[in-house]
Symmetry: C2
Subunit: 252 residues, 2 copies
Amino acid sequence: MHVFTVENIPMIKKGDDIASIICERTSIEDNDVIVIASTIVAKAEGRMFRLEDIIAGDEAKQIADKHGLDARFVQAVLNRSREILVDHPIFLVETDNGHVCIKAGIDESNVDKGYMIDLPVDSDKSAKNIGEGIENWTGKKVSVIVTDTNGRAFKIGQTGIAIGVYRIHPIKNWKGQRDLFGNILAVTEEAIADEIAGAANLLMGEGDGGCPVVIVRGLELRSQDGSIKEMYRSDREDIIKKGLRCLGKVGD
Amino acid sequence: MHVFTVENIPMIKKGDDIASIICERTSIEDNDVIVIASTIVAKAEGRMFRLEDIIAGDEAKQIADKHGLDARFVQAVLNRSREILVDHPIFLVETDNGHVCIKAGIDESNVDKGYMIDLPVDSDKSAKNIGEGIENWTGKKVSVIVTDTNGRAFKIGQTGIAIGVYRIHPIKNWKGQRDLFGNILAVTEEAIADEIAGAANLLMGEGDGGCPVVIVRGLELRSQDGSIKEMYRSDREDIIKKGLRCLGKVGD
């Protein structure tokens, strides 16, 4: 497996065609997985907004007070969330897409001062648009993963994770396969899209030397379809959400 | 970044010298990160045990009943755990080393029938032993990561994760660095050891074609020290643990 950055990606503006920007700067092969930071996808889709255009409600003001945050920013987070899992000391929500993350993934980094940047509205669709664009340009068959960085339970630090996919299943199912001794395997579902996103994130970097596009070559994972929603655990089965809701009820 | 398997690793037995087994089968370069599945480390360290040697207590019997598990297996999990975070419908514990995982990481896969296999007692120490062995053999300066696979909050599937490290810090700190527009970065701690473990896991596989040793080449991450404990969140700061304890108190 070879993992490398696409060099000299310019500063992305609203309306930019990310597929052609990538194809002009590297050569693509069949089965390449093109990993793209959501920041540039969101920028190309014009997902920047300004706090001065937002009016905060009472709930936003209450949460903002606990954190010392701008209530308009909190309102922006609420507008994009179907559930607040924790409002303090972290501000953890489930977005309308089912993605659980801090502050609905709204980011102040790598964007003009005074602006915020959202996640793409539908990252599967964004991945599909870019993937089809690359396939049309190159004639090669590829997969695309749109990534964000997320924290984890129990451990410090963030890793690159997938929030949208094109022609790759986020989960590889080993169910029914046997181990070296013929026993049925205990681990049956491998979260390959997140593993690929994490591998790519090692080369993306975060700072002003950041590389928002990374290619992972040498895996044979391309599928006919695939959606990030295959990876989200159903509410009913999610013991950690239950625990967080329990805290919300009894107070901390 | 180039990620590749070490081929033809034999079935590992108690007492095997993993460092020499690796060095005989591949060539190592400075700054290679040698990623090793904990299963073979534990086997070389003789961490197999049999259920018939364990006597289950009352707590083990109660938990076993909820799952339909063997109570002696549950007792083995309890013996290695300092806290049960959830006893049912999943059986999630914090091991004596601070690693939060299902069933204390005890595995029935890839081991002779009738035997169970533990995690290494101290995976940092295991990583150090193997790393120093490789450095002595090759004269090259390397890092080592011992891995397991773990589930995640909110999402289906497991990823490769680090449980022990040698000469690599599990967290890369971007604190104080600036983004493309000169703003201080929001994401400041990247969990690189887990990202590397996930990348390696893409090639390790789970089944009878599994490759327990993977080399990650092309990163410059070697450090003078490093411990997996740098990555574990302190109890006081862990809102998810608090939530799970809340469930334990009020019942589900």
